[in-house]
């Protein structure tokens, strides 16, 4: 009996210790999940201050963009405990709020004196609230972002190219301010030989699998007058999604794709546009502001060689929204630690340092600072863009809505199937069916 008891006691103690140890480790450790990209590295640097102040060790789970939604949404859906804090895409907020994946932060903000009025209004609306525009906060705005453009300033400055452009178009060569000008400029550069190399007009988003072509096409659709609904909250899409303006916008995006993108550019997103630009193939390219600090510092195409411009207007001024808020995952075992991180991150000094390190703070103390516009070559454009952003549906059914858009846009723009009107009519049909399934129509 004695000989049996000893191993049993030992095994029980070992089991007890093994279950206790992770809990001990977890108490002063937080895991933050985000996409793997340039700003994530800046956040690692920034978070060292949090560790120094609180003793809480920060762990990071950064997932490459193409797999980010799949990986993290699977984690949330399965009730996993990987993330204590999550910087999730703005479109996820509806589903995550309604499914109880995020902690509602109103009481915490009130208790800690964190005011949403201290942050840019558009960012709060996009990254924090659900239902949209109501004072129900599920995240703190963490990373402002929008789709914008950059161009080869050195090529635009060459006298012979300027003269040729003037002769061809009758106007001075400058960063485009309208979509008509953007198309004209892209066509001008496309196929031209510069520095002994054939170059192309523009590198744009055409990716099919996740969200790429939707984020690119909406950059044209919004300025031409595309709207999701005629009346906000009514889901009355007929005449808004497929309006005359929206049709022209989609046609313009296809025209830009057909005329002026580099060969083999049928499935391109963030990485591919950066590659096309950095390799000296594209005169202009679209991408998220998040990449601009890295581009500005690039050895080959940065510095004096690069310029930035906000998305050109057409019927109206608009940019496609990117960016994210930081949320506390409801399943966390370290709620106090996660909330402490949010409280720390909301401080104006931390937000200022966040901007200095390459993160896009949207705290008013940062944005309203007189030196902000000159702090980076793209800072002024960032302010303009954040005041004209429009986002995709943030509904709980956003994933299905996005898949329909991806299919309709890619079929029309890249695969040459049907007309822009047919694509947008089809989108209205798909989205109507989805909202009917959701019980919203």
């Amino acid at each position: 009996m004695k000989t049996m008891c000893r191993p049993l006691l030992g095994a029980t103690m070992a089991l007890g210790l093994s279950t206790a140890l992770p809990s001990l480790a977890q108490a002063d450790e937080l895991t933050l999940c985000w996409a793997a990209w340039d700003p994530a590295n800046a956040l690692v640097e920034l978070s060292k201050d949090f560790t120094a102040q609180t003793g809480t060790q920060m762990k990071f789970e950064f997932v490459p963009w193409p797999n980010f939604a799949d990986r993290i949404l699977n984690e949330l859906n399965s009730g996993g405990k990987l993330c204590d804090l999550l910087i999730g895409d703005s479109q996820w907020i509806g589903g995550s709020a309604e499914n109880g994946y995020y902690v509602k932060l109103n009481d915490f903000f009130d208790k800690e004196g964190i005011k949403m009025s201290d942050f840019a209004e558009a960012a709060v609306n996009a990254y924090s609230t659900w239902p949209k525009g109501t004072p129900n906060y599920w995240a703190l705005p963490a990373m402002g972002d929008a789709n914008a453009w950059f161009y080869r300033k050195d090529w635009f400055s060459k006298p012979e190219i300027q003269a040729e452009f003037k002769a061809a178009t009758g106007r001075d060569l400058a960063p485009p301010t309208t979509w008509d000008e953007l198309l004209e400029t892209a066509k001008f550069f496309n196929g031209k030989e510069i520095d002994g190399k054939k170059v192309y007009g523009a590198a744009i988003f055409t990716e099919r699998a996740s969200e790429g072509i939707t984020m690119g096409a909406t950059q044209a659709l919004y300025p031409y007058g595309f709207k999701y609904e005629n009346t906000t909250g009514k889901y009355d899409m007929e005449g808004a999604v497929n309006s005359e303006g929206a049709i022209k916008g989609l046609e313009a995006y296809k025209e830009l794709y057909k005329c002026c993108t580099p060969p083999g550019y049928t499935d391109a997103y963030m990485g591919e546009t950066l590659d096309a630009f950095k390799s000296g193939q594209a005169a202009m390219a679209m991408n998220w502001f998040a990449f601009f600090p890295g581009l500005a510092k690039d050895e080959n195409v940065g510095g004096d060689k690069i310029g930035f411009f906000v998305n050109p207007k057409q019927a109206t001024a608009a940019s496609t929204l990117g960016g994210q808020g930081i949320s506390v995952v409801a399943n966390t075992d370290n709620m106090d630690g996660a909330l402490a991180y949010i409280k720390w991150f909301a401080q104006p000094e931390v937000q200022k340092k966040w901007w200095q390190l390459g993160g896009y703070a949207v705290h008013n103390d940062v944005l309203n600072d007189p030196s902000f516009k000159d702090s980076q070559p793209f800072a002024a454009d960032f302010l303009v863009a954040m005041n004209q952003v429009q986002d995709f549906w943030q509904e709980p059914a956003y994933a299905i809505l996005l898949q329909s858009a991806q299919k309709r846009f890619h079929d029309y723009v890249v695969a040459d199937q049907g007309t822009a009107k047919e694509a947008l009519d089809g989108l209205v049909k798909d989205w109507t069916e989805i909202f009917e399934d959701e019980g919203k129509l």
Binding site: D70, L73, N74, L76, N77, G79, G95, N99, G100, R208, A209, P262, P263, G264, Y265, T266, D267, P396, A399, I400, Q403, K407, H410, D411, Y412, V414, A415, D416, Q417
Partner: protein, 322 residues
């Protein structure tokens, strides 16, 4: 020598029985052979039920509901046959099925023709045939992930070797066509890669078939002054046919559920040109999160493959019996 071996074999059960620990022997001593057999196969059956049968039954159950995996707290409602009706009347799904059928037909045709031809050549047993057999088998030893990425580069219009080879042969500029980006060429780009990778597999099975034909049959045909052509059609093809049909069955089932190569090469694009059924299913299940409808689609695919495979196996058995 034979006697000695037989003696060893005869003594083996006794030796095994003797080496069984006394405690274990006591415990199983009262069990019948059938009970012992069940004791041994029970873990396997339990595992099979847990990882194969249970998910299948669960998927059938989900296919009659509105379940969505991203909304675990939502009320589960029975929707009857609505998911099946929607899948079967969805034009996008029928287009995906047509794309799958096109892909399966051409890959099987090309792989069977080329694979059998290679097997026929290798079977001639020329000098160095073993070396060339190994070389030919290399593509199928590679990981599909490696092959997919590798061919993406080969198909790149500006730097890809494939475009340059086509350009060298035809004189068409390499950047003037896009294998992965063109609606008409993208399906063929996948067929080419799949054929490159899996023809060796078909060749291997056909080679086994050719090597199983006894030499004396050909010798008898020679005596009867049958021509090589006649021998090929009257001996080689009929006797290798069960093997060829087996290769077609394996490749057909594999290609019906093809996912990795298409995902890596085109992601189903451009547009939905190369969106085969498995990719549509994945999008429905893990991007749109319509788990109930995806389950219905999966069951329909399963029944289709299972039914076709059964008919095919019956035909195969008939050929073997001839």
């Amino acid at each position: 020598m034979i006697n000695s071996d037989t003696t060893i074999l005869e003594k083996e059960p006794e030796r095994a029985a003797a080496s069984t620990p006394a405690s274990l022997a006591r415990r199983i001593g009262g069990l019948s052979d059938r009970a012992i057999a069940w004791l041994f196969i029970t873990p396997t059956i339990a595992l099979l039920l847990a990882i194969n049968i249970f998910p299948l039954i669960w998927a059938i159950r989900l296919s009659f509901t509105n379940y969505r995996a991203n909304r675990p707290n939502a009320v589960l409602e029975n929707v009857g046959l609505q998911n099946y009706q929607r899948v079967l009347t969805d034009s996008d799904i029928w287009i995906a099925m047509q794309t799958t059928a096109h892909f399966v037909f051409w890959t099987i045709l090309l792989q069977t023709l080329i694979g059998f031809s290679l097997a026929y050549l290798i079977d001639r047993k020329f000098r160095g045939h073993a070396f060339w057999t190994t070389v030919i088998l290399i593509p199928m030893m590679l990981s599909p992930a490696v092959v997919g990425n590798f061919w993406r580069f080969l198909y790149q219009p500006q730097i890809g070797l494939f475009n340059y080879i086509v350009s060298f042969i035809t004189g068409v500029p390499p950047s003037s066509f896009e294998m992965l980006g063109s609606v008409s060429l993208a399906p063929w780009s996948i067929i080419i890669v799949d054929t490159w990778m899996w023809t060796p597999y078909v060749m291997l099975i056909c080679l086994a078939g050719l090597r199983s034909i006894p030499d004396y049959i050909y010798e008898a045909a020679e005596v009867d002054r049958a021509s090589a052509w006649r021998q090929f059609w009257s001996i080689t093809i009929p006797m290798a046919l069960p093997f060829i049909m087996l290769a077609v069955l394996f490749r057909g089932i594999e290609n019906f559920k093809m996912f990795d190569m298409v995902m890596l090469l085109t992601g189903g694009g451009p547009g939905s040109t190369t969106e085969v059924a498995s990719i549509t299913l994945k999008r429905e299940a893990f991007e749109s999160w319509r788990t109930g409808r995806a389950s219905a689609f999966a069951i329909i695919l399963f029944v289709a493959v299972f039914g076709l495979a059964n008919i095919y196996v019956k035909a195969l058995n008939r050929v073997k019996q001839r």
